[in-house]
Symmetry: C2
Subunit: 430 residues, 2 copies
C-alpha cells in the first residue's frame, strides 16, 4: 500500500503497532526503513521488511506559513544571531522531508513577534552541525565569525547551537576571544520547534534580550531555568553543563550561581556573582590552540595503559576527570597510574586533574596518594574547573607555550572566571 | 631546629608561612618533606629545602583514648560492620604517624554509644584500600565476605568504604549477590574522624540503624542528606553518585528518589520509591564477571581512535558516556565514530551507550545520527543507567554469556532496580 508522507498512519509489525505521521528519512540509512513521527514528538525507524500492514488513519493537511512583514520600532539595539545547527534550527517539512535552512531574521520575528520590542535582528547561518560534531576547526571558525560581529555595531551575539556540547563551545569561545566587550549568548532547544512544548522561542527571545539590554560581557548560555516557562537562566559559559538528557531546564550552573534570570518581558535580574561588564574597544581573536589534548574519565578498575596510547599518538596534554579531590588508582601493580604519569611528565606531556564529581574543587594536599601524584608526576590540579573546561583551556594554553612552568601557571590563572576562588556554598545542585 | 611531631609549629618558606601540627609523613615521598596538618583539617607537604625557619608555637599534649567496656542491651539485632578502608578508617596518630587498623567493635561503640540502643555490632576488617583503588578482584573478595555475613544471623551488613568510588562498589555488589535478603549499606566519611566536622559517626550510626531496623533489602549507600547533621539519606546503590568533592552531603540519588531518610534517633522515613524488601532464604554469590570492559567518556573533538586501542587490547565491552540522549560524533571524516563502532560490533565487542548528562535517559530514536548508531553499530542504549553502573553491569553480563542477543537482552533487563521505567520528575538535582 502506498501512503503519502505527511499523513497519520498505523504501521503493524510482527510484535508491535506504531501510530504516527509518516515522514521521509532525512539521511542515508542503508536498507529500507520507514520513519514515523510519534505523538510524543519522537521519531521511530521501522525496517520495511518487518512491516506487515500500513493503514491510513487520517490525511493531514499541509500547513503553509507565510512570512509577514512586521514594522520595526526605531532605534532598537542591533543583535546578531549566528546559527550553527542543532535542534533549534531543525524544522522538518513533513511533505518534502527537506530540512529548512537556518531561521532567517524574518522567520524569527514572525515566530517571536515580541522581539520587535527589544532588538533589531541580523541573522545568518555560519555552519550547520549537530553539537556533538563540534571540533577545534569549527570552534575556530565560530570564534572568527563572532569576533566580526562583536567588532560591528551589534550590541551582542546570539549563537544558536545544539545543546549536547553547547558548554564545550561556550567554554572554548570564552578563551578564544580576548577583551570581550559585549555579551555572547549561546542558546538552543531541547524540544524541536515543531513541538508544542518547544523551548526554542523563549530561549531565543531571552537570549536576544540578554544581548540587547544585558550588562554582562561574557560567553554565556541562556536556557530554561525550570520546567515552567517563567524565565531563563543566564549561565557562565565556563561554569555550566548539560545535566539532563531531555528536560528543558537541563543546563545548570556548576560551582557558581546563575549570573542572571532573564524574563520574556525584558526584565533581567542579576545574581550576586561578580561578572565582566560591557566595555568599549574591540575584541581580538586569540584562537591558536594545540588540538593534541585528550580528556580521560578515570574509573575504578581502569588500567593506566590508556596513557601509553595517548603518548604513542603524540598527544601533548591529558585532562583527567579523577575521582573525588582528584584521585586515580595508585596502590596495586597493573593498576597504579603513578609510574605512567611520571613517564608522561618526563616526555613533557602535561597532565591536568579535574573531578568527575563535577561539583567542588580538586585539592592535591589532603591525601597521601594525591601528594604523590602532584609531586611526582607534576600533575596540575585545576581547582574548581569542570573537566570539559580544563580540556578547552589546556588546548588553548598549549597553543601559546611549551614551557611546563608557564603552562602550569597559565592553567592556574583565572582568565574568564573559569576558576572561582571561593565557591558560593549555595552553588550545589541548583 | 628540631621539633617533635605532634606540636603546633609555624614553618616559614621563601613565599609563605604555614601554621599547623607537625605530623609524620605516612608514605614514602622521595626527597625531604615536612607535613603539617592545617587548622582546616587538611595536610600540606613542604619541601625541606624551601624551609627557612620552623618555630614551635605550642606543645600539644598527646591524647590517649581508653576503650571503655559498655554494657549491651539484651536481644538486639546483630549487625556486621566490614571495613574496607577509606577516610572513615583513617585515624592518624600524630605521634607515631602510624595509621590505626580498622575500628574495632569496641572502638565504634566507644565513639558512638547510641549504637547500644539499636544493635549488637560485629566488626572486622576485610581489606584496607582507598576506594579509587578498587578493582574486580577486590569486588569479588568484598562480595564473598558480604555473602558470608548475609547468610549468618546478622540482620544486615554495613560496609565502611572510601567515598570516591563507593558508588562503583555499591553497584558491583548489587549485581554480584543474588536473592538479596537483607540490607547491605555502604558508608564512609568526607571528613576524617579526627576533625570536629567529621561525618563518620552519624554516617555509621544511621547505617547501623538501617541494617538493624530497615525494611529495604538492597545494596545501598547511607550518607549525610544535607549540610546540617539532621538525618542521612539511604540511596539505592545503583542509582547514586558522589556529586561533590568535599561536601558531607556529596552523595545524591540520580534518576530516582532517595529510598529513605534515616535519623540518628532510630527513625526511618521511607519515600514513595518501590524497593526490594527483606526476605527469608540465603543469598548466593554470583561473581563471574569479565573484566575486559572499558568506560569511555566522549567529548567534542574526540577522535574515535580510542576504540582501536581497546580493540587491540582485547576488550570485550565498551561503555560510552555519550552526550545528551547518547550521541558521539558522526559527521566529519577523522572524527566520525560510526565506522569504528561497526568494526567493533563485527568483532563482537559490545558497545553500550549511557549519557554524560548523568540525569535522564538515553534514547536512540530521536535523532537521525542516533538511529544510525543504534542500527548500524548494534549499540545498546542503556535507558537511565549511570555510566558507572552500566560499566559494572556489562562486566557482570559478559561473565555470563557471549551471545550478542542475550547480552543486549540482559543489559536491558532490570535486575536490581538499575533501570527505572518512568523516572520520577522530582528526581533531578535533589
Amino acid at each position: 500500500m502506498k501512503v503519502d508522507y505527511g499523513n497519520l498512519v498505523e504501521v503493524k509489525t510482527k510484535d508491535k503497532i506504531y501510530r504516527g505521521i509518516l515522514i521521509p528519512r532525512a539521511e542515508v540509512i542503508p536498507g529500507n526503513y520507514l520513519v514515523l513521527k510519534l505523538a510524543n514528538g519522537y521519531n521511530v525507524g521501522i525496517s520495511k521488511r518487518e512491516v506487515k500492514k500500513i493503514k491510513l488513519i487520517k490525511k493531514v493537511k499541509r500547513k503553509i506559513s507565510f512570512v509577514k512583514k512586521i514594522e520595526l520600532k526605531k532605534d532598537l539595539p542591533i543583535v546578531s544571531v549566528l546559527s550553527t545547527g542543532g535542534t533549534i534550527s531543525c524544522k522538518v517539512d513533513y511533505i518534502t522531508g527537506g530540512v529548512y535552512p537556518a531561521l532567517s531574521a524574518d522567520e524569527i520575528i514572525e515566530n517571536i513577534p515580541e522581539i520587535t520590542n527589544f532588538a533589531d535582528i541580523r541573522a545568518r547561518e555560519i555552519m550547520k552541525v549537530p553539537s556533538e560534531d563540534m571540533n577545534p576547526r569549527l570552534w575556530r571558525r565560530m570564534a572568527r565569525e563572532v569576533v566580526k560581529e562583536l567588532n560591528s555595531e551589534a550590541e551582542g551575539v546570539v549563537i544558536t547551537h545544539g545543546t549536547d556540547c553547547m558548554h564545550y563551545s561556550s567554554a572554548m569561545l570564552a578563551f578564544m576571544i580576548k577583551n570581550l566587550n559585549k555579551p555572547i549568548v549561546f542558546t538552543g532547544s531541547q524540544r524541536s520547534s515543531d513541538r508544542g512544548s518547544s523551548d526554542a522561542f523563549q530561549n531565543l527571545l531571552c537570549s536576544i534580550i540578554a544581548c540587547a539590554n544585558g550588562k554582562i560581557a561574557e560567553s554565556m548560555i541562556c536556557m530554561h531555568a525550570g520546567i515552567e516557562d517563567n524565565f531563563n537562566f543566564l549561565l557562565r559559559g565556563v561554569k555550566a553543563r548539560k545535566m539532563h538528557t531531555e528536560r528543558r531546564d537541563a543546563f545548570r550552573a556548576i560551582n557558581c550561581l546563575p549570573l542572571a534570570k532573564v524574563y520574556p518581558n525584558g526584565e533581567i535580574k542579576y545574581s550576586e556573582e561578580i561578572y565582566n561588564e560591557r566595555k568599549r574597544g574591540n575584541v581580538k581573536l586569540d584562537d591558536r590552540i594545540d588540538e593534541r589534548v585528550a580528556l580521560v574519565y578515570f574509573y575504578a578498575g581502569q588500567k593506566p595503559d590508556i596513557l601509553d596510547f595517548y603518548k604513542s599518538e603524540g598527544y601533548r596534554g591529558i585532562v583527567i576527570a579523577g575521582t573525588g579531590l582528584g584521585h586515580v588508582a595508585t596502590s596495586f601493580k597493573g593498576y597504579s597510574w603513578i609510574s605512567k604519569m611520571r613517564e608522561l611528565s618526563k616526555k613533557e606531556i602535561v597532565i591536568a586533574m579535574t573531578s568527575q564529581c563535577l561539583y567542588g574543587r580538586v585539592h592535591p594536599f589532603v591525601y597521601t596518594p594525591l601528594r604523590k601524584i602532584s609531586m611526582l608526576a607534576n600533575v596540575i590540579y585545576c581547582e574548581d574547573m569542570l573537566p570539559e573546561v580544563a580540556y578547552c583551556k589546556l588546548m588553548w594554553v598549549l597553543g601559546k607555550t611549551k614551557d611546563p612552568i608557564k603552562i602550569k601557571e597559565m592553567m592556574l590563572t583565572n582568565y574568564v572566571n573559569e576558576i572561582t576562588k571561593v565557591t558560593n556554598p549555595n552553588a550545589f545542585l541548583i
